[in-house]
Symmetry: C2
């Protein structure tokens, strides 16, 4: 019988699990409530049940599963299997999550990885990066997560905190980031901060059709910004341009560092479509050096929300080989 792998994506609201064959074909998928506010044991039980259900749905018992990949937000000591202080899990403080889940699943091998890294690896093995060896990945959501593939492998630094690409500083002494630094790319170009900059501009009195949104809903979302951009609003265009420019600078900076063949953007914000992608490319072409022609491709991810479970399963498979 061929090998079976499970990929678990532990989110603040939902646990998603995919059951994959050895070609990383998705056989079955389940999801469950995380109950992130509860204790470690409950959260681990929720993961284990969802995992067993995913295997069962695909017609397998847990005994048939070769290994399990677990993707979770950080900070965590991934190599040691310990979740330290993930933002949305108030009770997961220095919890040996890898060992606890393995114990619950009869000693199954668990590969533990950062969720952005797992999604990056998913896009690399099965999505937008599947035909290259060197890739950089950005996920644009509340923050900006990152991942780097170098010669077919996820780049791992001296500790467990490489690939924090959203915290590359592009405007020294600029906007304050949640991390405490000033001028991080994330402070400008994440979905949340794109919306926030629009809100600040409207509140400061800039003329925009977004004012009506703020008045009626008390907030502006990133989707609102792109909707109003498409409808011709000038402020929405300015905000989008600033986001695209920050992302283009980020592309140039990672190009000059690890030199990927492809740069892949993922996350909720890519729903904006070509109106965003084309602006990123425009700024990239405007800002990049003239020493040589660059051939790096900038594109959007193709796997959507499944990237995390695919990547987690692929990492489990890679570790077993």
């Amino acid at each position: 019988m061929s090998e079976i792998y499970l990929g678990i994506d532990l989110g603040g609201t939902f646990i998603k699990v995919g059951c994959f064959d050895s070609d990383l074909k998705l056989l079955a998928k389940t999801s469950a409530h995380t109950e992130a506010e509860k204790d470690a044991k409950t959260i681990i039980e929720n993961m284990a049940k969802a995992a067993e259900q995913a295997a069962a749905k695909a017609g397998f018992a847990m005994d048939d599963v070769s290994a399990v990949g677990l993707a979770s937000p950080g900070p965590a000591k991934y190599r040691e299997g310990i979740i330290e202080a993930a933002t949305n899990f108030p009770n997961l403080r220095n919890i040996p999550i890898r060992r606890m889940l393995s114990d619950r699943l009869s000693g199954k091998t668990i590969i533990f990885e950062n969720d952005a890294n797992a999604a990056c690896f998913g896009e690399f093995v099965a999505g937008a990066g599947k035909d290259v060896d060197d890739m950089v990945f950005f996920t644009l959501g509340t923050g900006i997560g990152g991942g780097i593939i170098n010669k077919g492998k996820l780049l791992v630094g001296a500790g467990d905190n490489a690939n924090e690409l959203g915290h590359i500083i592009i405007y020294p002494d600029g906007r304050l980031c949640n991390c405490g630094q000033k001028g991080c790319a994330e402070a400008y170009a994440s979905a949340t901060n794109t919306a926030k900059r629009a809100t600040e501009a409207v509140e400061a009195g800039e003329k925009s059709s977004l004012k009506k949104v703020l008045d009626e809903k008390a907030q502006i979302t990133c989707k609102d910004v792109y909707d109003h951009l498409k409808a011709g609003d000038k402020l929405a265009k300015k905000i989008t341009d600033e986001t695209a420019k920050a992302l283009a600078i980020l592309c140039i900076n990672v190009l000059h560092t690890t030199e990927p063949a492809r740069i892949v953007f993922a996350g909720g914000m890519i729903a904006a479509g070509d109106v965003l992608l084309n602006r990123i490319k425009d700024y990239f072409n405007e800002q990049i050096w003239h020493l040589k022609k660059e051939t790096v491709e900038i594109c959007f991810a193709t796997l959507g929300e499944d990237a995390g479970i695919i990547g987690a399963a692929a990492l489990a498979k890679q570790a077993e080989k």
Copy 2:
């Protein structure tokens, strides 16, 4: 008999060659004029003779040499062995330098690498990075060269142009860099641009003891800036602070990308000593995030001008294993 390796550092003025044993102990060193303005054949002949002399000086014939490492400035197609358009070599245009040198040395294996990468690898195997696995290297000269060691290996990108760390943009729309980009770290913090910013400030009328230097010598060097800083000149302090801050931002950006355990600065500018190093560390501590305590060490290189030949020989040794 133990293995012997040669490391060649091809510079615009001098060719330096070191002959090393299998523990990378330097047995003999030679240097020769490059004659960079001449044709490829002459330059290659100059390298070959210097290589033969280095081996002879250590008591060996070329037949005893296991492999040769050749470090040269770029841009070059290092993996293909072709020097494309290196700045100081007007006649080396698309020259298959690796094959030509190998032919001249009776088919000897030649490992061809970027000079900053070779110096980085030298510091990694025998200098400031010899006790870590993950390191980032900056060389501060006319420009800012870079190198990245990840898990004991020199990072190589999709082409031959990873590690162009001086061209990380830290001030979008800032100073124009020689590469055509605006706001590169190199445009602020290389030795040449540190001196240039001082000259520009004095010419713009800023009060400084450096004015006398400019009046008498018609130029200000980077060494002048640090000499006048030590003598208490305020403009020299301001220029140094700007350089140190740019380098600190660069450190933060590479930390969040490949997460080295150590960041090593090399090149002529480190002669400035602690007055520069301590300012870089101060700005790093001021600008770095608060999410977790960083343990990366920032220090100066220890091998001086030999880093290139040691690194080239070490790369030759690594390739032979």
